[in-house]
């Protein structure tokens, strides 16, 4: 079965640079969620989108923004990167009226 696709899988950036992470949900899923997972930590919710509209917001820094497009894929834009932004970034998707969120393989971001 098709799963959530994330790109790139690995990304190395310098401090103060920008990064864009992409997420392609499971076909027919209309809701996308972004989570950040630090080393040895549990995933922390950042933001979610349903039908291109932000549906919920968590502890997402103001330096980060995200959007969902008409084909339901989503992008997480991260600016003025800091060392502490180094983490795994996961995208999950679901169908609106189903609870289960299915996670992608993640993007590992390293900020030097």
């Amino acid at each position: 079965a098709a799963g959530v696709i994330q790109s790139p899988r690995h990304l190395i950036k310098e401090k103060r640079e920008t990064a864009t992470l992409k997420c392609y949900p499971i076909p027919r899923h209309d809701t996308v969620y972004w989570y950040q997972q630090g080393p040895g930590q549990d995933p922390q919710f950042l933001i979610s989108f349903y039908e291109k509209m932000q549906s919920d917001k968590g502890s997402i820094p103001d330096r980060f923004s995200a959007q969902q497009f008409s084909d339901y894929h989503s992008e997480l834009n991260m600016s003025s990167l800091e060392l502490g932004d180094s983490a795994l970034y996961f995208c999950a998707s679901s169908f609106r009226y189903q609870e289960t969120q299915y996670f992608g393989p993640g993007t590992r971001l390293l900020v030097l």
């Binding site: 995933p43 979610s48 996961f90 993640g106």
Partner: protein
């Protein structure tokens, strides 16, 4: 604040034994609970979920038990196999929020 936590950070079992991973939650408004398995460097993989109107749900070799009275959730894995070795997270959702709130994870090691 509200949180979901795990009693044991590590669990080591022998192959073929049954495993029980526990989770305590504190948000009484939570109405949906889910268990994920995460292998090193990979995204959380859905195992089983349960809604608050149920107290038990079974899957293939896995059972989730929910005790709302004491706000406790457990995952039982029957006949544990080496391939079950991973970190297991419980997560909860509710109160009108889209986000999953994760517990701290339990590392399960299955010894052959």
């Amino acid at each position: 604040g509200e949180s979901v936590g795990l009693h044991l950070p590590t669990l080591s079992v022998q192959e073929g034994d049954n495993s029980i991973i526990n989770c305590a939650y504190s948000n009484s408004a939570s109405d949906y609970f889910i268990w994920y398995k995460q292998e090193s460097g990979k995204g959380p993989q859905f195992i089983i979920d349960i809604r608050s109107n149920m107290d038990k749900r079974q899957g293939q070799r896995v059972t989730v038990l929910l005790n709302k009275t004491v706000k406790h959730l457990s995952l039982q894995i029957a006949a544990t196999q080496p391939g079950d070795s991973a970190v297991y997270f419980c997560a909860e959702k509710g109160g009108g929020s889209e986000k999953l709130v994760f517990g701290k994870g339990t590392k399960l090691t299955v010894n052959p």
